[in-house]
Protein backbone atom coordinates (compact mmCIF):
# COMPACT_ATOMS: atom_id res chain seq x y z
CA UNK A 1 0.00 0.00 0.00
CA UNK A 2 2.40 2.68 -1.18
CA UNK A 3 2.06 5.90 -3.17
CA UNK A 4 2.79 4.26 -6.50
CA UNK A 5 0.11 1.61 -6.00
CA UNK A 6 -2.44 4.13 -4.80
CA UNK A 7 -1.69 6.33 -7.81
CA UNK A 8 -2.32 3.43 -10.18
CA UNK A 9 -5.52 2.55 -8.35
CA UNK A 10 -6.88 6.11 -8.45
CA UNK A 11 -5.94 6.43 -12.11
CA UNK A 12 -8.11 3.39 -12.71
CA UNK A 13 -11.15 4.19 -10.55
CA UNK A 14 -11.14 7.99 -10.99
CA UNK A 15 -9.66 8.48 -14.47
CA UNK A 16 -11.22 11.92 -14.91
CA UNK A 17 -10.27 13.39 -11.54
CA UNK A 18 -6.57 13.95 -12.13
CA UNK A 19 -5.47 12.50 -8.82
CA UNK A 20 -1.88 12.97 -7.71
CA UNK A 21 -0.75 11.08 -4.65
CA UNK A 22 1.36 13.52 -2.65
CA UNK A 23 2.39 11.24 0.21
CA UNK A 24 1.71 8.02 2.05
CA UNK A 25 2.75 7.13 5.58
CA UNK A 26 2.04 4.02 7.64
CA UNK A 27 -0.03 4.48 10.78
CA UNK A 28 1.45 2.30 13.53
CA UNK A 29 -0.38 0.63 16.34
CA UNK A 30 -3.12 -1.60 14.97
CA UNK A 31 -2.89 -5.27 15.85
CA UNK A 32 -4.56 -6.75 12.83
CA UNK A 33 -4.79 -4.53 9.75
CA UNK A 34 -2.14 -2.45 7.98
CA UNK A 35 -3.12 1.20 7.90
CA UNK A 36 -1.67 3.96 5.75
CA UNK A 37 -2.50 7.67 5.67
CA UNK A 38 -2.32 9.20 2.19
CA UNK A 39 -2.63 12.75 0.89
CA UNK A 40 -4.05 13.21 -2.60
CA UNK A 41 -4.35 16.29 -4.77
CA UNK A 42 -7.19 16.41 -7.28
CA UNK A 43 -7.27 18.18 -10.67
CA UNK A 44 -8.98 21.25 -9.22
CA UNK A 45 -6.05 21.74 -6.85
CA UNK A 46 -7.88 20.61 -3.73
CA UNK A 47 -6.17 18.12 -1.47
CA UNK A 48 -7.66 15.34 0.58
CA UNK A 49 -6.43 12.84 3.13
CA UNK A 50 -7.44 9.22 2.78
CA UNK A 51 -7.02 6.24 5.09
CA UNK A 52 -6.00 2.98 3.46
CA UNK A 53 -6.83 -0.17 5.40
CA UNK A 54 -5.49 -3.42 4.03
CA UNK A 55 -4.69 -6.99 4.93
CA UNK A 56 -1.15 -7.75 6.04
CA UNK A 57 0.44 -10.82 4.44
CA UNK A 58 -1.11 -14.02 5.79
CA UNK A 59 2.27 -15.31 6.90
CA UNK A 60 2.85 -12.30 9.13
CA UNK A 61 -0.52 -11.82 10.76
CA UNK A 62 -2.70 -13.48 13.36
CA UNK A 63 -6.14 -11.89 13.36
CA UNK A 64 -8.37 -12.92 10.51
CA UNK A 65 -11.24 -10.91 9.10
CA UNK A 66 -12.74 -10.49 5.68
CA UNK A 67 -12.22 -7.16 3.98
CA UNK A 68 -15.15 -7.80 1.62
CA UNK A 69 -17.41 -8.41 4.62
CA UNK A 70 -16.12 -5.22 6.24
CA UNK A 71 -16.77 -3.28 3.04
CA UNK A 72 -20.32 -4.68 2.92
CA UNK A 73 -20.89 -3.58 6.53
CA UNK A 74 -19.53 -0.11 5.77
CA UNK A 75 -21.86 0.20 2.81
CA UNK A 76 -24.75 -0.95 4.98
CA UNK A 77 -24.18 1.54 7.78
CA UNK A 78 -22.62 4.56 6.06
CA UNK A 79 -25.88 6.48 5.64
CA UNK A 80 -27.62 5.48 8.85
CA UNK A 81 -28.84 8.44 10.89
CA UNK A 82 -27.82 6.96 14.25
CA UNK A 83 -24.05 7.42 14.06
CA UNK A 84 -21.27 8.50 11.72
CA UNK A 85 -18.52 6.57 10.01
CA UNK A 86 -15.76 7.96 7.79
CA UNK A 87 -17.14 7.75 4.27
CA UNK A 88 -15.88 4.57 2.59
CA UNK A 89 -14.66 5.73 -0.81
CA UNK A 90 -13.05 2.85 -2.66
CA UNK A 91 -12.43 -0.86 -2.34
CA UNK A 92 -9.71 -2.79 -4.13
CA UNK A 93 -11.58 -6.06 -3.77
CA UNK A 94 -8.92 -8.28 -5.30
CA UNK A 95 -5.74 -6.49 -4.32
CA UNK A 96 -4.96 -6.06 -8.00
CA UNK A 97 -3.74 -2.51 -7.49
CA UNK A 98 -2.89 -2.15 -3.80
CA UNK A 99 -1.18 -5.51 -3.36
CA UNK A 100 -3.81 -6.64 -0.88
CA UNK A 101 -7.53 -6.25 -0.41
CA UNK A 102 -7.82 -2.64 0.66
CA UNK A 103 -10.56 -0.30 1.85
CA UNK A 104 -9.98 3.42 1.27
CA UNK A 105 -11.99 5.86 3.39
CA UNK A 106 -12.00 9.56 4.00
CA UNK A 107 -9.68 10.70 6.79
CA UNK A 108 -11.38 12.57 9.59
CA UNK A 109 -9.64 15.52 11.24
CA UNK A 110 -10.21 14.20 14.72
CA UNK A 111 -8.80 12.82 17.93
CA UNK A 112 -9.65 9.39 19.24
CA UNK A 113 -11.76 9.18 22.36
CA UNK A 114 -8.91 7.25 23.96
CA UNK A 115 -6.58 10.23 23.49
CA UNK A 116 -9.30 12.52 24.79
CA UNK A 117 -9.59 10.34 27.89
CA UNK A 118 -5.85 10.66 28.40
CA UNK A 119 -6.29 14.43 28.69
CA UNK A 120 -8.15 14.14 32.00
CA UNK A 121 -11.77 14.98 31.17
CA UNK A 122 -14.80 14.52 33.43
CA UNK A 123 -15.00 10.72 33.36
CA UNK A 124 -18.65 10.57 34.40
CA UNK A 125 -19.52 12.68 31.37
CA UNK A 126 -17.18 10.65 29.17
CA UNK A 127 -18.87 7.44 30.37
CA UNK A 128 -22.26 8.81 29.38
CA UNK A 129 -20.92 9.81 25.96
CA UNK A 130 -19.33 6.41 25.46
CA UNK A 131 -22.55 4.61 26.38
CA UNK A 132 -24.55 6.85 24.08
CA UNK A 133 -22.28 6.04 21.12
CA UNK A 134 -22.47 2.33 21.92
CA UNK A 135 -26.25 2.50 22.20
CA UNK A 136 -26.52 4.41 18.93
CA UNK A 137 -25.03 1.41 17.13
CA UNK A 138 -27.08 -1.12 19.08
CA UNK A 139 -30.34 0.78 18.56
CA UNK A 140 -29.96 0.71 14.78
CA UNK A 141 -33.14 -0.88 13.37
CA UNK A 142 -32.09 -4.08 11.66
CA UNK A 143 -34.52 -3.50 8.83
CA UNK A 144 -32.52 -0.39 7.95
CA UNK A 145 -29.42 -2.51 7.35
CA UNK A 146 -28.96 -4.00 3.91
CA UNK A 147 -30.45 -7.47 3.69
CA UNK A 148 -27.16 -8.73 2.28
CA UNK A 149 -25.66 -8.59 5.78
CA UNK A 150 -25.99 -12.05 7.30
CA UNK A 151 -28.60 -12.44 10.00
CA UNK A 152 -28.63 -15.32 12.49
CA UNK A 153 -31.73 -17.46 12.28
CA UNK A 154 -32.51 -16.65 15.90
CA UNK A 155 -30.86 -15.46 19.09
CA UNK A 156 -30.14 -18.90 20.54
CA UNK A 157 -28.58 -20.16 17.31
CA UNK A 158 -26.39 -17.08 17.27
CA UNK A 159 -25.34 -17.52 20.89
CA UNK A 160 -24.57 -21.20 20.32
CA UNK A 161 -22.39 -20.24 17.38
CA UNK A 162 -20.43 -17.77 19.52
CA UNK A 163 -20.10 -20.34 22.33
CA UNK A 164 -18.82 -22.79 19.74
CA UNK A 165 -15.72 -20.61 19.44
CA UNK A 166 -14.57 -22.40 22.60
CA UNK A 167 -15.03 -25.77 20.93
CA UNK A 168 -13.04 -24.43 17.99
CA UNK A 169 -10.31 -23.25 20.37
CA UNK A 170 -10.11 -26.62 22.09
CA UNK A 171 -10.05 -28.44 18.77
CA UNK A 172 -7.28 -26.11 17.61
CA UNK A 173 -5.02 -26.82 20.60
CA UNK A 174 -5.80 -30.48 21.06
CA UNK A 175 -8.35 -30.39 23.90
CA UNK A 176 -5.71 -30.07 26.60
CA UNK A 177 -6.40 -26.66 28.13
CA UNK A 178 -8.30 -27.24 31.40
CA UNK A 179 -9.05 -23.55 31.82
CA UNK A 180 -10.81 -23.26 28.46
CA UNK A 181 -12.72 -26.50 29.10
CA UNK A 182 -13.80 -25.24 32.53
CA UNK A 183 -14.82 -21.88 31.07
CA UNK A 184 -16.86 -23.50 28.30
CA UNK A 185 -18.70 -25.65 30.81
CA UNK A 186 -19.54 -22.67 33.01
CA UNK A 187 -20.70 -20.69 29.98
CA UNK A 188 -23.11 -23.44 29.04
CA UNK A 189 -24.44 -23.60 32.60
CA UNK A 190 -25.34 -19.91 32.61
CA UNK A 191 -27.12 -19.10 29.36
CA UNK A 192 -28.40 -15.52 29.82
CA UNK A 193 -31.87 -14.17 29.03
CA UNK A 194 -32.56 -13.50 25.37
CA UNK A 195 -32.33 -9.99 23.95
CA UNK A 196 -33.19 -8.66 20.49
CA UNK A 197 -30.44 -9.08 17.92
CA UNK A 198 -28.64 -5.86 17.05
CA UNK A 199 -25.76 -4.37 15.11
CA UNK A 200 -22.64 -5.51 17.00
CA UNK A 201 -19.37 -3.69 16.31
CA UNK A 202 -17.01 -6.33 17.65
CA UNK A 203 -14.19 -3.99 18.76
CA UNK A 204 -16.06 -1.24 20.55
CA UNK A 205 -13.64 0.82 22.61
CA UNK A 206 -12.65 4.49 22.96
CA UNK A 207 -9.76 4.01 20.54
CA UNK A 208 -12.29 3.33 17.80
CA UNK A 209 -14.38 6.45 18.42
CA UNK A 210 -13.20 9.59 16.63
CA UNK A 211 -14.15 12.95 18.09
CA UNK A 212 -14.33 15.81 15.65
CA UNK A 213 -15.21 19.45 16.30
CA UNK A 214 -18.78 20.28 15.38
CA UNK A 215 -19.97 16.78 14.46
CA UNK A 216 -21.21 13.68 16.19
CA UNK A 217 -18.50 11.08 16.95
CA UNK A 218 -17.40 8.67 14.25
CA UNK A 219 -17.14 4.92 14.81
CA UNK A 220 -14.29 3.18 12.96
CA UNK A 221 -12.80 -0.32 12.55
CA UNK A 222 -15.83 -2.40 11.59
CA UNK A 223 -13.93 -5.53 10.64
CA UNK A 224 -15.55 -7.73 13.30
CA UNK A 225 -19.03 -6.23 12.96
CA UNK A 226 -22.01 -8.50 12.63
CA UNK A 227 -25.63 -8.82 13.61
CA UNK A 228 -25.78 -10.51 16.98
CA UNK A 229 -26.20 -10.07 20.71
CA UNK A 230 -25.33 -6.45 21.59
CA UNK A 231 -24.00 -7.50 24.99
CA UNK A 232 -20.97 -8.91 23.17
CA UNK A 233 -19.76 -5.33 22.74
CA UNK A 234 -20.15 -4.59 26.45
CA UNK A 235 -18.29 -7.77 27.42
CA UNK A 236 -15.57 -7.00 24.92
CA UNK A 237 -15.01 -3.54 26.36
CA UNK A 238 -14.56 -4.93 29.87
CA UNK A 239 -11.19 -6.43 28.92
CA UNK A 240 -9.75 -3.36 27.21
CA UNK A 241 -6.64 -2.62 29.28
CA UNK A 242 -6.07 1.02 28.37
CA UNK A 243 -6.89 3.43 31.23
CA UNK A 244 -8.91 5.34 32.16
CA UNK A 245 -11.64 2.71 31.93
CA UNK A 246 -15.21 3.90 31.67
CA UNK A 247 -16.92 0.74 32.95
CA UNK A 248 -14.99 -0.66 35.88
CA UNK A 249 -15.13 2.35 38.25
CA UNK A 250 -18.96 2.19 38.34
CA UNK A 251 -20.51 -0.76 36.47
CA UNK A 252 -23.98 -0.04 37.80
CA UNK A 253 -23.94 3.54 36.49
CA UNK A 254 -22.60 2.40 33.11
CA UNK A 255 -25.26 -0.27 32.71
CA UNK A 256 -28.10 1.89 34.05
CA UNK A 257 -27.32 4.41 31.31
CA UNK A 258 -27.12 1.65 28.73
CA UNK A 259 -30.45 0.17 29.83
CA UNK A 260 -32.10 3.60 29.72
CA UNK A 261 -30.95 4.13 26.15
CA UNK A 262 -31.64 0.65 24.79
CA UNK A 263 -34.66 -0.49 26.76
CA UNK A 264 -33.00 -3.67 27.97
CA UNK A 265 -33.98 -4.76 31.47
CA UNK A 266 -31.81 -5.32 34.51
CA UNK A 267 -32.43 -9.03 34.10
CA UNK A 268 -31.00 -8.83 30.57
CA UNK A 269 -27.92 -6.76 31.35
CA UNK A 270 -26.33 -6.37 34.77
CA UNK A 271 -22.72 -6.58 35.98
CA UNK A 272 -22.77 -10.38 36.19
CA UNK A 273 -24.10 -10.75 32.66
CA UNK A 274 -21.61 -8.17 31.40
CA UNK A 275 -18.81 -10.37 32.76
CA UNK A 276 -20.39 -13.40 31.13
CA UNK A 277 -20.25 -11.60 27.81
CA UNK A 278 -16.57 -10.85 28.25
CA UNK A 279 -16.12 -14.61 27.92
CA UNK A 280 -18.00 -14.55 24.61
CA UNK A 281 -17.16 -11.10 23.25
CA UNK A 282 -13.45 -11.87 23.09
CA UNK A 283 -13.74 -15.47 21.90
CA UNK A 284 -13.23 -14.64 18.20
CA UNK A 285 -9.92 -12.97 19.02
CA UNK A 286 -8.80 -15.77 21.32
CA UNK A 287 -9.54 -18.28 18.57
CA UNK A 288 -7.29 -16.39 16.15
CA UNK A 289 -4.59 -16.08 18.81
CA UNK A 290 -4.63 -19.82 19.49
CA UNK A 291 -4.52 -20.60 15.77
CA UNK A 292 -1.47 -18.34 15.56
CA UNK A 293 0.26 -20.09 18.44
CA UNK A 294 -0.49 -23.46 16.90
CA UNK A 295 0.99 -22.32 13.59
CA UNK A 296 4.13 -21.16 15.39
CA UNK A 297 4.25 -24.51 17.21
CA UNK A 298 4.07 -26.23 13.82
CA UNK A 299 7.07 -24.26 12.60
CA UNK A 300 5.32 -21.52 10.63
CA UNK A 301 6.14 -17.85 10.97
CA UNK A 302 3.21 -15.57 11.77
CA UNK A 303 5.05 -12.31 12.27
CA UNK A 304 5.79 -10.64 15.56
CA UNK A 305 2.17 -11.16 16.61
CA UNK A 306 2.48 -14.93 16.48
CA UNK A 307 4.65 -14.92 19.56
CA UNK A 308 3.84 -11.55 21.12
CA UNK A 309 0.17 -12.46 21.46
CA UNK A 310 1.15 -15.13 23.99
CA UNK A 311 0.79 -12.23 26.43
CA UNK A 312 -2.78 -11.67 25.22
CA UNK A 313 -3.38 -15.43 25.52
CA UNK A 314 -2.28 -15.25 29.16
CA UNK A 315 -4.31 -12.08 29.69
CA UNK A 316 -7.53 -13.63 28.36
CA UNK A 317 -6.77 -16.92 30.13
CA UNK A 318 -6.73 -15.19 33.49
CA UNK A 319 -9.87 -13.20 32.76
CA UNK A 320 -11.65 -16.34 31.60
CA UNK A 321 -10.78 -18.24 34.75
CA UNK A 322 -11.53 -15.34 37.10
CA UNK A 323 -14.89 -14.61 35.52
CA UNK A 324 -16.00 -18.20 35.01
CA UNK A 325 -15.12 -19.04 38.63
CA UNK A 326 -17.70 -16.41 39.61
CA UNK A 327 -20.44 -18.06 37.55
CA UNK A 328 -22.79 -20.23 39.61
CA UNK A 329 -23.50 -23.91 39.23
CA UNK A 330 -27.09 -23.52 38.13
CA UNK A 331 -29.81 -26.09 37.87
CA UNK A 332 -28.92 -26.28 34.21
CA UNK A 333 -25.59 -27.71 35.25
CA UNK A 334 -27.11 -31.10 35.72
CA UNK A 335 -29.01 -31.16 32.46
Amino acid sequence: MDAEKLQAFLNSVEPDCGATVLSTAPVPGGYSRDTVMAEVQWADGSTEKLVLRGDPPVESSVFRSDRAAEWAILQAVKDLPDFLIPTPRYFDATGEYMGCKCIISEAIDSTSMQKFLDSGPDLDKAREDFVAIMASAHNTPLDSIDAAIERPSDWRAHLDDVIANYERMLECIGEDDPILRYTLKKIRMNIPPEVPLALVHGDLQPGNFLLSEGTDPYIIDWEFARIGDPRLDIGYYLQIPMPPHLYHPDPEAFLASYRALTGLTEEQINPAIAKYFLLLGTSHLMLDILQGTEDVTAGQHRGVMGTFLMTAYAHFHKLYLDYSLELPYTAEATR
Binding site: Y31, S65, Y182, T311, L321
Partner: protein, 153 residues
Protein backbone atom coordinates in the same frame (compact mmCIF):
# COMPACT_ATOMS: atom_id res chain seq x y z
CA UNK B 1 28.09 -28.01 29.35
CA UNK B 2 28.47 -24.30 29.79
CA UNK B 3 26.14 -23.09 32.53
CA UNK B 4 27.33 -19.54 33.10
CA UNK B 5 25.60 -17.44 31.98
CA UNK B 6 22.31 -19.32 32.08
CA UNK B 7 19.90 -19.25 29.14
CA UNK B 8 17.64 -16.82 30.98
CA UNK B 9 20.55 -14.49 31.71
CA UNK B 10 21.66 -14.59 28.07
CA UNK B 11 18.17 -13.64 26.91
CA UNK B 12 18.00 -10.83 29.45
CA UNK B 13 21.30 -9.53 28.18
CA UNK B 14 20.07 -9.64 24.59
CA UNK B 15 17.06 -7.57 25.66
CA UNK B 16 19.38 -5.13 27.40
CA UNK B 17 21.43 -4.74 24.23
CA UNK B 18 18.34 -4.17 22.12
CA UNK B 19 16.91 -1.56 24.46
CA UNK B 20 20.16 0.33 25.12
CA UNK B 21 21.90 0.30 21.77
CA UNK B 22 19.51 -0.72 19.01
CA UNK B 23 16.16 0.79 19.95
CA UNK B 24 17.45 4.42 20.14
CA UNK B 25 18.73 4.18 16.58
CA UNK B 26 15.37 3.15 15.17
CA UNK B 27 13.25 6.09 14.09
CA UNK B 28 10.31 4.33 12.46
CA UNK B 29 7.56 4.19 15.13
CA UNK B 30 6.13 0.98 13.67
CA UNK B 31 9.50 -0.76 13.91
CA UNK B 32 10.01 0.58 17.45
CA UNK B 33 6.74 -1.03 18.48
CA UNK B 34 7.67 -4.32 16.82
CA UNK B 35 11.03 -4.35 18.54
CA UNK B 36 9.43 -3.57 21.87
CA UNK B 37 7.04 -6.48 21.35
CA UNK B 38 9.96 -8.76 20.60
CA UNK B 39 11.74 -7.76 23.81
CA UNK B 40 8.62 -8.70 25.75
CA UNK B 41 8.65 -12.09 24.03
CA UNK B 42 12.33 -12.52 24.91
CA UNK B 43 11.69 -11.59 28.54
CA UNK B 44 8.91 -14.16 28.67
CA UNK B 45 11.28 -16.74 27.18
CA UNK B 46 13.85 -15.89 29.84
CA UNK B 47 11.23 -16.51 32.52
CA UNK B 48 10.11 -19.74 30.88
CA UNK B 49 13.61 -21.12 30.46
CA UNK B 50 14.15 -20.78 34.20
CA UNK B 51 10.98 -22.48 35.35
CA UNK B 52 8.78 -24.19 32.78
CA UNK B 53 10.05 -27.74 33.25
CA UNK B 54 9.89 -27.58 37.04
CA UNK B 55 6.43 -25.98 36.96
CA UNK B 56 5.04 -28.70 34.73
CA UNK B 57 6.70 -31.47 36.74
CA UNK B 58 5.13 -30.04 39.91
CA UNK B 59 1.67 -29.77 38.40
CA UNK B 60 1.50 -33.18 36.71
CA UNK B 61 1.20 -35.25 39.93
CA UNK B 62 -1.48 -32.87 41.21
CA UNK B 63 -3.58 -33.42 38.08
CA UNK B 64 -3.08 -37.18 38.18
CA UNK B 65 -3.90 -37.38 41.87
CA UNK B 66 -7.11 -35.44 41.31
CA UNK B 67 -8.14 -37.66 38.40
CA UNK B 68 -7.31 -40.84 40.30
CA UNK B 69 -9.28 -39.70 43.35
CA UNK B 70 -12.28 -38.78 41.19
CA UNK B 71 -12.10 -42.14 39.44
CA UNK B 72 -11.91 -43.97 42.79
CA UNK B 73 -14.79 -41.99 44.29
CA UNK B 74 -17.11 -42.24 41.29
CA UNK B 75 -16.06 -45.48 39.65
CA UNK B 76 -16.06 -43.66 36.32
CA UNK B 77 -14.20 -45.74 33.76
CA UNK B 78 -13.36 -42.85 31.41
CA UNK B 79 -11.66 -40.87 34.17
CA UNK B 80 -9.78 -43.95 35.35
CA UNK B 81 -8.58 -44.68 31.83
CA UNK B 82 -7.46 -41.07 31.31
CA UNK B 83 -5.55 -41.08 34.60
CA UNK B 84 -3.85 -44.41 33.87
CA UNK B 85 -2.84 -43.23 30.39
CA UNK B 86 -1.18 -40.10 31.75
CA UNK B 87 1.57 -41.29 34.06
CA UNK B 88 4.61 -39.02 34.22
CA UNK B 89 7.78 -40.27 32.58
CA UNK B 90 11.30 -39.77 33.85
CA UNK B 91 12.60 -37.76 30.91
CA UNK B 92 13.38 -34.12 31.57
CA UNK B 93 13.65 -33.30 27.88
CA UNK B 94 11.28 -30.38 27.34
CA UNK B 95 9.21 -31.99 24.58
CA UNK B 96 8.71 -35.11 26.72
CA UNK B 97 7.66 -33.07 29.73
CA UNK B 98 5.21 -31.11 27.57
CA UNK B 99 3.69 -34.38 26.32
CA UNK B 100 3.34 -35.64 29.90
CA UNK B 101 1.79 -32.32 30.92
CA UNK B 102 -0.74 -32.42 28.10
CA UNK B 103 -1.81 -35.96 28.98
CA UNK B 104 -2.13 -35.06 32.66
CA UNK B 105 -4.11 -31.95 31.77
CA UNK B 106 -6.53 -34.02 29.70
CA UNK B 107 -6.96 -36.47 32.57
CA UNK B 108 -7.64 -33.60 34.95
CA UNK B 109 -10.20 -32.06 32.57
CA UNK B 110 -11.97 -35.39 32.09
CA UNK B 111 -12.33 -35.67 35.87
CA UNK B 112 -13.29 -32.02 36.26
CA UNK B 113 -15.98 -32.33 33.59
CA UNK B 114 -17.50 -35.20 35.52
CA UNK B 115 -17.56 -33.50 38.92
CA UNK B 116 -19.01 -30.34 37.35
CA UNK B 117 -21.74 -32.33 35.62
CA UNK B 118 -22.67 -33.97 38.91
CA UNK B 119 -22.06 -30.82 40.98
CA UNK B 120 -19.77 -32.67 43.37
CA UNK B 121 -18.89 -29.69 45.57
CA UNK B 122 -15.86 -31.16 47.33
CA UNK B 123 -14.13 -32.16 44.13
CA UNK B 124 -15.21 -28.93 42.41
CA UNK B 125 -13.57 -26.86 45.13
CA UNK B 126 -10.39 -28.91 44.91
CA UNK B 127 -10.38 -28.72 41.12
CA UNK B 128 -10.92 -24.97 41.10
CA UNK B 129 -7.99 -24.53 43.49
CA UNK B 130 -5.85 -26.53 41.07
CA UNK B 131 -6.91 -24.26 38.23
CA UNK B 132 -6.03 -21.19 40.30
CA UNK B 133 -2.57 -22.61 40.94
CA UNK B 134 -2.12 -23.38 37.25
CA UNK B 135 -3.03 -19.80 36.42
CA UNK B 136 -0.69 -18.37 39.05
CA UNK B 137 2.17 -20.39 37.60
CA UNK B 138 1.29 -19.33 34.07
CA UNK B 139 1.16 -15.68 35.10
CA UNK B 140 4.56 -15.96 36.73
CA UNK B 141 5.99 -16.86 33.33
CA UNK B 142 3.73 -14.93 30.96
CA UNK B 143 2.72 -11.80 32.76
CA UNK B 144 0.12 -10.95 30.12
CA UNK B 145 0.00 -7.33 31.21
CA UNK B 146 1.55 -5.59 28.26
CA UNK B 147 -0.65 -3.98 25.64
CA UNK B 148 1.64 -2.43 23.09
CA UNK B 149 -0.14 -0.53 20.34
CA UNK B 150 -3.67 0.65 20.12
CA UNK B 151 -6.23 -2.07 19.71
CA UNK B 152 -7.00 -5.41 18.23
CA UNK B 153 -7.44 -3.79 14.87
Amino acid sequence: MITRPSTSRILEDVVDEIMRDIMPSITDPAQQIRLHMLTIVLNNCANASEREISVMREEIPVYLSFASDVAAATGDADVATAAEAAQMGESLVLSDVIADYQRASRAFSTAMDLVMDTVNRDFINRGEDILRTRMANERAILSGVSAVGRSAS
